[in-house]
């Protein structure tokens, strides 16, 4: 509908501009800074090496994973009908991490060399299993108990974390090294084939989830109504769980656990343009890319020449945001309504 386009146009333009600026900034800023004119004129061999083999793959990964995590947040929030459903909070990401470490540590006995494909597959499987379990625990007769969902998430995080630690205890030196290296959740040293793999998987899942924007809207009205409006709720749920787990698995397998992207971005987008998924999904994708590109730039520059793990940085930024959401919710419940906007939680 036209009104939909009209509503989305301004946020879309703004976010795209931000993304372009962010991309250029983080392409140019770094260990040694390039200027725009350097890009136009001939680059030295060293400059072009830095640009093509270090900064560009990293940049692309940040954008793709940011977009993917935001989308999987949107999808899970539609599934649980709750804005707090986020892969990191409800234990999906840490389950994916467990799957990845499992293959890193034990995969060596099965295969000679563990490839990034195998790690991704294991992470995705673990993520989908935990999503399905969590959904069946916290949802009865089509109603999600929010407290139960968050508490089950706490339990999942604890269990997956403990099992990951256990695996590490049993690993030998070289396995330990690769597991620890991976657990730092770093964006450094990404190779092009890895970047293409994640980009491919995330794009696939994004296209699949984009097809589901209408049923996502209908699902907010309840499972029964979703069916009355012509969508098959069972099939819809399986798809949402599968594809959001694929995104989380693919990104966790490469850069480790990065939390809060799927919480912060969709929330801000919903405050801005409402809850219609036809807008929330694409705008969250761009917003997630912006957020992670900027966060990565910050992570590289803050304590230069060293570098903050991006997962750590996101937790530092996202944790307080999450608390703010909870406070807003509490104030509303306690009747402190005037201070809180009507939209949102």
């Amino acid at each position: 509908m036209r009104s939909l386009l009209a509503r989305g146009l301004w946020p879309f333009t703004l976010l795209s501009t931000l993304l372009m600026l962010g991309l250029f900034a983080s392409l140019l800023i770094g260990g040694f800074t390039l200027s725009l004119s350097d890009l136009i004129t001939e680059l030295s061999a060293q400059q072009s090496m830095v640009l093509w083999e270090i900064r560009l793959p990293r940049l692309m990964m940040a954008a793709v994973i940011g977009a993917g995590l935001a989308i999987s947040g949107v999808a899970l929030q539609a599934l649980f009908r709750n804005p707090l459903a986020e892969p990191g909070l409800i234990g999906v990401s840490s389950s994916a991490a467990f799957g990845a470490v499992f293959v890193i540590v034990l995969g060596g006995t099965l295969w000679q060399e563990v490839s990034v494909w195998q790690i991704s597959a294991a992470a995705s499987v673990a993520a989908s299993v935990s999503t399905v379990l969590l959904y069946s625990i916290s949802t009865r007769h089509g109603h999600t108990d929010v407290a139960l969902m968050l508490l089950a998430g706490v339990a999942f995080n604890a269990i997956a974390g403990a099992m990951t630690q256990l695996l590490i205890t049993f690993s030998d030196d070289s396995q330990l090294r690769s597991a620890l290296f991976w657990m730092m959740g770093s964006m450094a040293n990404l190779s092009w084939p890895t970047v293409w793999m994640v980009t491919g998987l995330v794009s696939l899942a994004t296209i699949a989830l984009w097809r589901l924007v209408n049923p996502m809207n209908a699902f907010l009205l309840g499972e029964k109504t979703c069916m009355q409006m012509g969508y098959d709720p069972k099939w819809f749920k399986w798809q949402v769980m599968g594809f959001s787990a694929l995104i989380v698995g693919a990104s966790v397998s490469v850069v480790g656990v990065i939390g809060f992207v799927g919480l912060v971005v969709p929330h801000i987008i919903r405050l801005w343009i409402g809850a219609d998924h036809r807008l929330v999904l694409p705008l969250s994708a761009i917003g997630g890319a912006v957020l992670l590109v900027l966060a990565d730039l910050l992570a590289r520059q803050l304590i230069f020449p060293a570098e903050l793990p991006i997962g750590l940085l996101m937790a530092l930024l996202g944790g307080p945001f999450f608390l703010m959401l909870l406070l807003g919710k509490r104030n509303r419940r306690m009747g402190n309504r005037s201070k809180v906007q009507g939209r949102g939680l």
Partner: protein
């Protein structure tokens, strides 16, 4: 007007039983529904009214018996095809995130995938019908119970509202401004659509019950099939073309208002104490529930 002159669409229910956890909620129900009529299902709490409606809308699969929808078995029709021709207003409605009223209505409208000009006309029409035009930009979650009900009803109507013929050219492609509402004709021509309503009057004030009741009667004449579950027996007497009275999961009475809503039936099927008079003008029963038996 050709649409409403063709044969009415039919839903035939044969030997329908539904049981869950060992209790039989519907037992061998036989009945028939037609478009161009307002069907009202009555009965005590737990008589199986909502269960029957849920079976008709394909939410529950009957344990026995069959539902024939326009000559086809109901289970052979896809969710999508069903959604294009029938809309359901459930007893309770939820909405997880905040939508404005207009956005909510657009969700229902989106099922049909109409051209955008038509889509806007449909949204305007159903907002007007449900008296929600002035509340269109309000957040659904801040509305009162009755207003929420009307907003949901508008959403449900938008799902099956027929496109108006010949208005495509006359409408500018900008958003129809509010002052155009008078020109907006609420004269839909239905073609075999169905509207299922489960206790739609709950929470609505009398003014809006009457407003919508009048519309329902009008639309039934214009080809819509309406099946509703009601508790308000006096309202049912004025609204219904046919009444189906259920008792303990079985059909107790089925037929015209004058033959079903009699003092004897109501007392026996629903254990009500009522006075039934016949309105000398329209020959319909006037039913007054009484606290004291006389």
């Amino acid at each position: 007007m050709s649409a409403s002159q063709t044969n009415p669409a039919k839903i035939q229910v044969e030997g329908l039983s539904y049981s869950i956890d060992g209790s039989e909620l519907l037992k061998q129900v036989d009945c028939e529904f037609e478009t161009r009529q307002v069907h009202v299902i009555l009965g005590q709490n737990g008589a199986g009214k909502s269960t029957l409606l849920n079976c008709l809308s394909h939410e529950l699969l009957p344990t026995e018996g069959s539902i024939i929808w326009n000559g086809q078995p109901l289970e052979s029709i896809s969710y999508v095809d069903l959604a294009l021709q029938r809309a359901v207003l459930s007893q309770s409605n939820e909405l997880a995130f905040s939508f404005t009223v207009q956005e909510l209505v657009e969700l229902g409208e989106a099922v049909q995938q109409r051209a955008s000009v038509q889509a806007k006309l449909v949204v305007e029409a159903v907002l007007h019908v449900c008296d929600m035009t002035h509340l269109r930009h309000r957040d659904y979650l801040t509305l009162s119970g009755g207003e929420q009900k009307r907003a949901q009803l508008a959403r449900v109507l938008a799902q099956i509202w027929p496109e108006q013929q010949g208005e495509k050219e006359s409408t500018p492609n900008a958003t129809p401004p509010v002052q155009n509402l008078q020109q907006l004709k609420i004269e839909p021509i239905f073609n075999g659509q169905w509207l299922f309503l489960d206790e739609w009057t709950a929470g609505l004030d009398i003014k809006h019950q009457q407003r919508l009741g009048r519309y329902f009667k009008q639309w039934a004449k214009r080809g819509l099939g309406i099946i509703m579950v009601l508790h308000d027996i006096s309202f049912a007497a004025q609204l219904a073309d046919r009444c189906l009275i259920l008792k303990e999961g079985q059909v107790f009475a089925d037929g015209e208002v004058t033959s079903t809503l009699t003092q004897a039936t109501l007392q026996e099927a629903m254990e009500m104490t009522v006075r039934v008079e016949i309105d000398p003008q329209n020959k319909l029963p006037i039913i007054t529930p009484l606290l004291e038996s006389f």
